[in-house]
Symmetry: D2
């Protein structure tokens, strides 16, 4: 079926390519005409403006927004007046589901349909397919199924889950799912990303322990400010993390796609010197913890993962200075500038 | 090659089966003769006693222990006097690597070799193969490679990692790895399990948030002891967790073997009523955090996951009573017996 | 000066008593006339209705609300129409500062003034005085100083802070502080309570460790599901927590008012059997973490304290069942119903 | 009574002064003769060597070690051969209680007594007195009571705890306590310090939230890497932390000695620019969490506080680089070098 795609960044352009390859007809638009031109050179139809995009689409229109969460509302402000009752707007980006609920109401008042799609898969999605978590009105979501099916990885992407009956009629087995009314798609995607933070942190902490398994080889100072390593003979291992992550990829309980990626990173950059360790967070992790708090659900792991990212960016600095001030005032402790033994391993 | 297996529980018996199928020759022994008999009926050679086992093995002998960590030393006490210089003892269970280092020294004094093997794969290992993390002397580990190769999943169990050269000669690609000297195998396995705790907790917390996405449908009391849900309209979703976990299996960033298992569990038991939520920990998670503390490596996520298990078993109860006592004493707060709204969802 | 007090619960009634003793003139009102009658018997002027209360107050009126956060808006709905430009409404309860900002705007549109006061001190406040964190317009807050001064503990309640100059003119030394514009009072109080959660949890966890210092005396099972205590000889202490908390009250770094309370609780109820350990949270701890997330400030400790309360109420149950299901599926682990060794100490 | 003091650093020298002022007779010794000379100038008896110290002491001797934990054993190696059956060695430093148990056995074999004393109070202890947590044989501890009483703050240091009977005979009311057999003193002190870490972190995190209450005044980037602040109007407060901590000192629930210290620090250094935020840990916090893990007691707050210190010293760096590598590999995310909005507040 036909789909207008607004936003041809990393994700949007690749989705157009996958849709096209999957037999769907896309009209592509971006505020940067160069992005449109690139896809046109690949044989995709392009639009010169929102007006042009809307004009090229058959009614009822289906328009997919793949723009940063921060500019969705600005885009809708321009797009919505061009649409007609029955048209559908799909937000496939990383919007906060609170916004979905508001927008669904606003568009609904104009007899426009709003569908939110949480999209996971990242840069690999073009080849692997995208996992789609969808919120919206049932009949509207149903109408868009050809689009979702073309974007999703398909049933063959994972072995069947024992016990699931082939006749269940669920599309989850193909990699897309209608989760519930508007907002449900981004709600599920939000929690998905919250889980992602936790899993990533679990690997990262574990690898950090492995990396410092040679701690006993490095002398640590013995003064009142430093806790000596009591049994250095227990920490004499030089572990090869590229090899360790590779072996875990086969047969272990912690095999995963994220582990595949880490193993790949470590092949060429064993010390990960390409990175400084300043870790961004793009919102979903925060919203996940906020939702947990609203619901009264304990999330000690997901929040610890989130806060570790904040700390990686220096956001704990003032708190740490408060600690140093207290230590000075009650114990006369003077801050140390560096601690031998930790420095060499980063 | 030939291997003596001591301990024919869940793991040990299946490993004998996989080894046998892989062309290796096992002599099986267990303190419970029924366990030996079962394997004998499957065509495996059995031993009636440790003496018998040792007598049947060609020199230099290779004996694999697959017994609970708590009885390894007692088993060694009986086994070691029967062995001769050059023989190898392999501990394939979940021993603490501290014990490996000690035992390697003790056995080394008798010119016996000690190899520690961290084994991951669980009940699925018989079919999938076992991920093996190995510590020991290089030439001894090398000698045992046919055994490890038969137990491991093999290279086909995962797609090749981009960038790894076929000529690296590493066995990690086959699913087993010589990690370092004695103790290194169980050290890596220990951290593997620590990571496992963190990943499991990430999924569990996230699913708990999804499960309570209908919190706005349940009235919550408005009194000084209860924080009302400010925007109930944001929590009106009835999410189907079996479907959500199924869709995540295809194309999402958080796809993993553990996710496959959860999706399977939820198919037949959507509310997980088969479980009460009392979660054991068998040691590795504790040791992982203790190692992190020794090394000075922060593990907020892995420790939060560990402590959540402790709390699931009521180990926070006294601390919670301390909190209630304080709240009573400064604020006159009286403990509530239950909170409507949370009860129905468990 | 004159003040109308609405809400004569635990806190409100005691505040009227302290104000009266401090020479201020209160008119007391509550929806439950019995509460008004009690104060009338103590010589305080009472009002039979909101109309009556407003009628008895001199202009510009000052009305203090001391009602549960959940009924502030309903109370304002009835009160506001009775007031006149220049009157002041003070919310001294535990309102969310978001509501303060909204209400300040709503009342401002009617030329009414809104002041938010975070009040700490609990049931001891009547004698010790209340710590007041105030948000509002400077001249309005200034006008109310006699009220705040009468409620606050006064300078003698704590020794002077070295370095503070007597001429600073700050009222913080007396126990009340104008923190900033509307909402600032409750913002500071919110964070105060968030800190309180963290401090309480620190004591509670520490006391729980002390309580289990005899863990080595209790045999623990040795099976694959249970991690044995490796060195029971290190956990042979029977510590008297009432004595320990008492000794900490003198000279230690962790002396505090909360510690004083715990020491008192343990005198008569050494095992805290008066409590079950179901710990409520009344909102501020949640809002504190939510604010931290908005600001990007890491709060691993404050959030861990919050989530421990959620868990104490069974809110982690489903997550724990997910963990048990995974353990069963990958490892064949069966849930244990109880673990000897932990049971006897609660 | 008479006491030999070995170790005249910050703590040891002040303890000698307090003991002397309290009517006890000290013989002071330190490997640095200048430290001995300083006390001699104040009228305290000094020793030129360990032999000299032992010679000057009446039998049975009482020798107090106040040296860094890392040199206690080396000191004992020299001291013990000089002592005679019945003599007492007191370790008043921050030894690990595991060492106490070992040393008590070693000294006991020579009929020497060993007493461990956890000492809290820091640099203020000389004036305020020291809180003493004591482990040892009852009659030996009893014999040393005059020393403990002179060092402790005394009953007047805190108001009586309601419900405690004057006739209890406990010394806890005076600020020292015989907690149990050898090791019990340092065990209780260890947990005391673990609690201290948690309390300090609670204040530090809370103050960090208050410091960033103006986050809405700083523009934050709107790109796919950055989560925008949704409601900047809620974060417009410029809070004066010196004033806030001062007001909390009177009447609030979170009043404490640590708060007194913070309030003092902020008077002269509002931004705490005297510190960089590199926070040491001297062992007790680590040991506390390790003990909790041994006992199976959940300590999410105490461990989070410990790990925040590790992170303040850059120990999370490799873990953070792992996170950045994963984000790059699945999402094409490039690390940002800095985030406007957070920078100016430190």
């Amino acid at each position: 079926m036909q789909l207008g795609m607004i936003g041809l960044g990393r994700m949007g352009a690749d989705m157009v390519r996958r849709l096209t390859k999957g037999g769907q007809q896309c009209i592509a638009y971006d505020v940067q005409s160069a992005a449109v031109d690139r896809l046109k050179q690949e044989g995709v139809a392009g639009a010169a403006s929102l007006q042009d995009l809307v004009a090229q689409l058959e009614k009822p229109r289906a328009v997919w927004l793949m723009v940063p969460a921060a500019v969705v509302d600005a885009t809708l402000e321009k797009l919505v007046p061009l649409l007609e009752p029955g048209d559908v707007v799909i937000d496939g980006g990383n919007s906060y589901y609170h916004d979905d609920i508001r927008r669904a109401n606003e568009l609904g008042a104009r007899q426009l349909h709003y569908v939110d799609v949480g999209t996971s898969g990242g840069v690999a999605g073009r080849e692997r397919g995208y996992c789609l978590m969808i919120g919206g009105e049932p009949e509207v979501v149903k109408r868009l199924e050809p689009i979702f099916a073309a974007l999703a990885p398909g049933a063959a992407a994972a072995p069947p889950t024992p016990g699931r009956t082939a006749t269940s009629g669920s599309t989850a087995d193909q990699g897309f799912l209608h989760c519930g009314p508007q907002g449900a798609g981004h709600f599920v995607k939000m929690v998905h990303n919250g889980i992602e933070y936790g899993i990533m942190a679990a690997y990262a902490e574990g690898l950090n322990i492995l990396r410092h398994a040679d701690a006993g080889k490095h002398a640590r100072e013995a003064d009142a400010e430093t806790s000596p390593l009591r049994r250095p003979e227990l920490y004499q291992y030089d572990l090869n993390l590229a090899e360790v992550t590779e072996v875990w990829r086969r047969g272990s309980v912690i095999g995963s796609w994220l582990l595949d990626l880490i193993a790949g990173s470590l092949v060429s950059d064993a010390d990960l010197q390409n990175y400084t360790g300043r870790v961004s967070d793009s919102g979903e992790g925060r919203w996940t913890v906020a939702a947990a708090i609203d619901e009264g659900v304990p999330t000690p792991v997901l929040s610890a993962a989130l806060f570790a990212r904040f700390s990686s960016r220096g956001e704990a600095d003032f708190a740490n200075r408060v600690l140093s001030a207290m230590r000075h005032d009650f114990g006369g402790h003077v801050e140390k500038t560096a601690e031998p033994g930790s420095a060499p391993k980063g």
